[in-house]
Amino acid sequence: MDLDFYLSTMWSVLKALPLTLEIWFFGIAFGLIIATGLTWLRASGYRLGEYFTRAYVFIFRGSPLLVQLYLIYFGLSQFDFVRHSPILWPILRDPMYCTIVAMALNTAAYESEIFRGALRAVPVGQIEAAKAFGMSALTRFRLVTLPIALRLALPAYSTEIILMTKATALASVVTIMEMMGTAQKIQHDTFRPIEVLTCAGVIYLLLNLSIARLFAWVEYRLSPHLRPPPEQSQQIRPVPEVL
């Protein structure tokens, strides 16, 4: 056992954690924006919008993220108009931006399905009650549908976020030196893959476990009305003998 080697590897990989988190954060943030747009398009009731979102979800869920990443990074630069565009080219020639774009597009497909399911699961009675109160469509959405749907979407959303943490490792195949890329480099330099990958694995696992914890906490905080009151959650106590 070579403790120094483990510690120095751990430290080198940890130094790449900010980059991993950067990819992770922007992928999730842009993904959320796209997913919101897709969900709105799907729920808007336009036939064309529905076809578009169906096709989008089918394509991005049915093929591996790696193919999507390669297609965006290597494939799109084949078009002359992409290479000559002052907006697209700075984004699509940078592997970092390409990874973020691929992750955002991919996760948006899964998230839009999660949000669609959550919206459908909002009890009809709640919406009817809001209508009966004379709430406008916007107020109804803001005060009734959205809060309920968000809470319903949370468990599946947290799973998707964890899948995204795992997906950041793919950035290493397009030369980004995030945690996985750094681990790969150390492994090639030292030829001790088991030790190096174990160190990286521990960090990834701790990261994912803390994300899962965080979401469990948010979920707990958001559903106080679903928790049984503390005194009733215990077993039914025998009636004290008064007489």
């Binding site: 193919v67 494939g75 893959p193 088991i194 990958l197």
Partner: protein, 248 residues
């Protein structure tokens, strides 16, 4: 218009390149992808049912092992597991071979890339299958197990005649999801050098400089594979639950 002309050029070269032999290569790529997926699913089924049994066990130690397995292999990046099995396997094999003297002290004995990839993807698939099997077992009606016990069936007989058929029936939709996941994970083992669809597309893209074309074709082929499997699993679901349909 520039865009349309570009596209027209791409389509005409696409036909030439695919007819020039890359088409056949890609078909072989599909065959390897399917082989990797099927073998991984089988490894995953064996591991998954053992892990599910461990997670359902009354013994705390076994439960802990099962929980750790599913947490670790669902929580780590797939790429890391694949590297661990491929490069780690090479490290172990080389170490063993060097110490027994079957190779020189500077030689390297590589992990077979198919074996390394299939083990890694199979173990990941096993973690997801374990959850599917566990869920199906918990969904079996308690009364059925009690009835079997009341008949005096031995544990093995109960397992074979009551538990397995029910778990298989209830697990089909979940296994369909894991199958899709495993197809997509199999693309990652291109990094170890298995000539499956992704690596073939990679090679074609690099040597012809038509990345857009070959990655699009690869994407479409993956879509075809994942969408063909949906009706197959639906059919399997109908077949396994044929005695549970409501009378008309």
């Amino acid at each position: 218009m520039e865009f349309l002309n570009d596209l027209k050029d791409q389509v005409s070269t696409a036909y030439e390149l695919l007819a020039a032999g890359w088409g056949v290569q890609l078909l072989w790529g599909i065959a390897w992808t399917l082989a990797v997926t099927v073998v991984s699913m089988l490894i995953g089924a064996v591991l998954g049912s053992l892990v599910a049994a461990a997670k359902l066990s009354h013994r705390g130690g076994l439960r802990f092992i099962g929980e750790s397995y599913t947490t670790v292999f669902r929580g780590e990046p797939e790429l890391l597991i694949i590297y661990l099995f491929y490069y780690g396997g090479t490290q172990v094999l080389t170490g063993v071979a060097r110490s027994t003297g079957s190779i020189g002290s500077t030689d390297i004995l590589n992990m077979p890339s198919f074996l390394g990839g299939v083990l890694a993807v199979g173990i990941i698939s096993g973690a997801y299958q374990a959850e599917v099997f566990r869920g199906s077992f918990l969904a079996i009606h308690r009364g059925e197990l009690e009835a079997a016990r009341a008949y005096g069936m031995s544990a093995w007989l109960r397992f074979r005649l009551v538990i397995v058929p029910q778990v298989l029936r209830l697990a089909v939709p979940g296994l369909g999801n894991v199958w899709q996941l495993t197809i997509k994970d199999s693309a990652l083992i291109s990094v170890t050098g298995v000539a499956e669809l992704m690596l073939t597309a990679n090679k074609a893209a690099r040597s012809t400089h038509h990345s857009l074309l070959f990655y699009t074709v690869a994407g479409i082929l993956y879509l075809v594979m994942t969408s063909i499997s949906t009706p197959i699993f639906e059919k399997a679901e109908r077949y396994t639950s044929r005695s549970f349909t409501r009378p008309k």
